[in-house]
């Protein structure tokens, strides 16, 4: 292997992939906001954005431009340094996570694999990196030096730390079945088993998805930014582009949670019933497209729930997290281990 090959294998190909994923992700987030507005509008019997382009198709671009040219207000008594970097701390982990999420099988993309990298601690990496995002929210709330953001930040700290625990336990269920932390291996295992892990670990999936909604601060768990109580929660004092960074991070996290749900429980890039030969015609749809379709389904559920449910109160939220989700997830881990040890 000469120097050129090393350069191409370890620098050029990953960089190209990263660029493509970041590009698709940014565009995806922009159009996710449009999708959300359109879907919610349909639920509520109205039209949603219609003015910018055909059926509001250019709305995200207009919004992006608006965020960039808006005045960047930093409150006088804010801690300027922390106030400035907090949105970035929230945003960066949200994107970094996608380094290990597989969009296609290892032999796709001319043998380079349908992912940026496949590391042996992939799942742990996702959980660990996304846990860093909480820091951005706390620091942003604190640095604003104002009461509502502080209350919002305290709420989010408590909320995200508690739900991370339940989520971790929910994921362990999959881990036990798959016997690997690598996300690529987890999907491959679902192929060899011929069964999506959802059918093996339904409890684990439900806990994971509910906790995922709490992690991303979406209704009915959107307490850190409950606009009717805490005005804007932790980002009350943020405006313009810094605000949009938080916004992008939230939507990126939605995509992360959905992607991970698809990868762990719904066979990632695999078609439905990957081992049933009669359905082989489904392979005409390329794996990354299957992945996208599944992710979109989960994103739709996110939006749907937002359109339907009221919001929990803070103490109720904590009760559910610690007294319902966590015990259920732990029981699931114990039962799964017992079954695996005794029958397999």
């Amino acid at each position: 292997m000469n120097a050129w090959q090393i350069l191409i294998n370890y620098a050029v190909i990953p960089l190209v992939k990263i660029a493509v994923i970041v590009g698709i992700l940014s565009g995806g987030i922009a159009y996710l906001t449009l999708l959300e507005r359109k879907v919610i509008a349909r639920l509520q019997q109205r039209l949603g954005p219609m003015r910018v382009g055909w059926h509001g198709i250019l709305q995200p671009i207009a919004d992006g431009l608006k965020f960039i040219i808006k005045e960047d207000v930093i409150p006088l008594k804010a801690d300027k340094f922390v106030f400035t970097i907090a949105p970035a701390i929230s945003l960066i982990p949200a994107f970094v996570v996608f380094a290990v999420i597989p969009f296609g099988p290892p032999d796709s993309l001319w043998g380079t694999g349908g992912y940026v990298t496949d590391i042996n601690i992939g799942l742990l990496f996702v959980v660990a990196v996304s846990s860093v995002g909480v820091l951005g929210i706390i620091l942003g709330g604190w640095a604003s030096n104002s009461k509502y953001p502080l209350l919002g930040a305290l709420r989010s700290t408590a909320q995200m730390v508690s739900y991370e625990v339940a989520m971790g336990f929910a994921i362990i269920g999959v881990l036990l079945v798959a016997n690997s932390l690598s996300l690529v291996d987890i999907v491959q295992k679902q192929k060899t088993m011929g069964l999506w892990f959802f059918f093996v670990q339904p409890v684990s999936f439900l806990v994971y998805y509910a906790c995922g909604m709490a992690e991303t601060n979406r209704l009915p768990f959107d307490l850190p930014e409950a606009e009717t109580e805490l005005v804007g929660g932790f980002h009350t004092e943020y405006s313009g582009f810094r605000f949009s960074l938080y916004f992008i991070a939230e939507y990126a996290n939605m995509i992360t949670v959905s992607s991970l749900a698809v990868t762990l429980f719904f066979g990632g890039w695999l078609r439905p019933f990957p081992n049933v030969a009669a359905l082989a015609f489904l392979d005409l749809i390329p794996p990354p497209l299957w992945f996208t379709i599944k992710v979109l389904t989960f994103l739709y559920v996110f939006i749907w729930v937002r359109g339907t449910l009221p919001r929990f109160r803070f103490d109720q939220l904590m009760n559910i997290g610690w007294k319902v989700f966590l015990p259920v997830a732990m029981a699931n881990v114990i039962v799964t281990s017992a079954v695996l040890l005794s029958f397999l």
Partner: protein, 378 residues
């Protein structure tokens, strides 16, 4: 004093002490206008709450002293601007009582019907904002969809949607437009299903139940002591409704029930209001089928000069008992006109209701009181 109002925003502390004073409002998404509540909180628990009102004070009562009775009517559109028709009805009937004017039955029926429409519209707005405050966004738009229909009906009759100037002293400005009753029937027939729709989203929703049950409980005795009226009173199980207690307009002619709550919590008040919408719809249907024909003007004098004396008349507004106390010295304008604003008095219960609850509940309780700052501040 200034210091005291703004609390401990000063230099040193944000969370030094256990207690934190936060200002909810006057600019806050869910204080329904410019209400400001100074909350003393310990963590998220409310220790004390104090309403600071007056941000929307326009001196309506004083202005009216310098207007003739006829000119005064539209000012009451702007007190409780969510329910302009009810306000108009109260004032107009009070002046008619002063003058001793008899109003033709057709006018009484139209007034009753339109007031009930207004009650539905007001309750819809309440439901919309209350649900939105608790996070249910879709109910907001569903409720506004029906409110829009009612406002269209209002526009057809009175020519305006919000500040309507609905009734004139002694009668109406003009008769119902052609085909109006059919439009009303169409709305009325479909409305029951829409209420079911809202209830489907909320009434048995576990999150909704957890957010509203046992929140802001007021017992029947306390409700009477606080002189609450309207749904907050009836939610506590006290059977008092001016429409039944002292029937006015054409209410004596109709069959309708007064829904009552049991526990006096936010959920019961929600149920009471939702049921009131159904009952209002019942009244409207009876109005439509029994609408008498005839004149739309009573024999009111051209220049209104009520005899000397003090008069009080109250009607059941959507938010509670809405009273007008007018002192006449025999001139063309009142010597004194005092409004008994239901929401101003209901708001006094806030402090009692929020103590010991969480910040999130404050929003639910403000919502359940159904205040309109235009009326609180006048």
């Amino acid at each position: 004093m200034q210091e005291d109002i703004f609390g401990a925003i000063g230099e040193e502390t944000i969370l030094d002490a256990n207690q934190l004073t936060i200002n909810m409002g006057p600019q806050h998404p869910s204080t329904h206008g410019v209400l400001r509540v100074r909350l003393k909180i310990d963590g998220e628990r409310v220790i004390d709450a104090e309403c600071v009102i007056g941000y929307l004070h326009r001196g309506t009562e004083k202005i009216v002293e310098n207007r003739t009775y006829t000119m005064a009517v539209p000012y009451f559109d702007r007190t409780d601007y969510i329910a302009a028709v009810s306000n108009n009805l109260g004032f107009v009937e009070c002046v008619e009582k002063m003058l001793g004017v008899e109003v033709p039955p057709r006018v009484q029926y139209i007034r009753t019907m339109m007031t009930e429409f207004q009650r539905i519209a007001s309750h819809l707005l309440w439901l919309a904002t209350h649900a939105l405050d608790i996070g249910a966004m879709t109910v907001f738009l569903y409720a506004f969809r029906e409110r829009e229909e009612i406002l269209k009906l209002m526009e057809a009759v009175f020519g305006a949607r919000l500040t309507i100037h609905a009734f004139r002293i002694g009668g109406l400005w003009q008769d119902l437009p052609h085909g109006f009753l059919d439009a009303c029937r169409k709305f009325s027939d479909g409305f029951e299903a829409h209420v079911d729709e809202y209830e489907g989203l909320l009434t048995n929703n576990r999150i909704w139940l957890e957010r509203t049950k046992n929140i802001g409980v007021v017992s029947a005795e306390e409700a009477i002591d606080l002189s609450l009226t309207g749904p907050p009173l009836r939610g506590s199980g006290v059977n008092y409704d001016v429409r039944k207690a002292r029937p006015y307009a054409a209410y004596a002619d109709f069959d309708f029930d007064i829904p009552l709550g049991v526990h006096g919590d936010t959920y019961d008040r929600y149920l009471v209001r939702v049921e009131e919408m159904r009952q209002s719809n019942r009244i409207i249907q009876q109005c439509i089928t029994r609408m008498p024909s005839g004149s739309i003007r009573g024999k009111a004098p051209r220049v209104i000069k009520p005899p000397v004396g003090e008069y009080f008349h109250s009607v059941e507004g959507p938010k509670g008992e809405l009273g007008y106390y007018i002192v006449s010295e025999g001139g063309t304008s009142p010597y004194r006109c005092r409004i008994r604003p239901p929401t101003f008095i209901n708001l006094q219960a806030l402090r009692k209701m929020v103590k010991g609850h969480l910040v999130a509940d404050v929003v639910a309780i403000i919502g359940t009181l159904d205040i309109v700052l235009g009326e609180v501040d006048r």
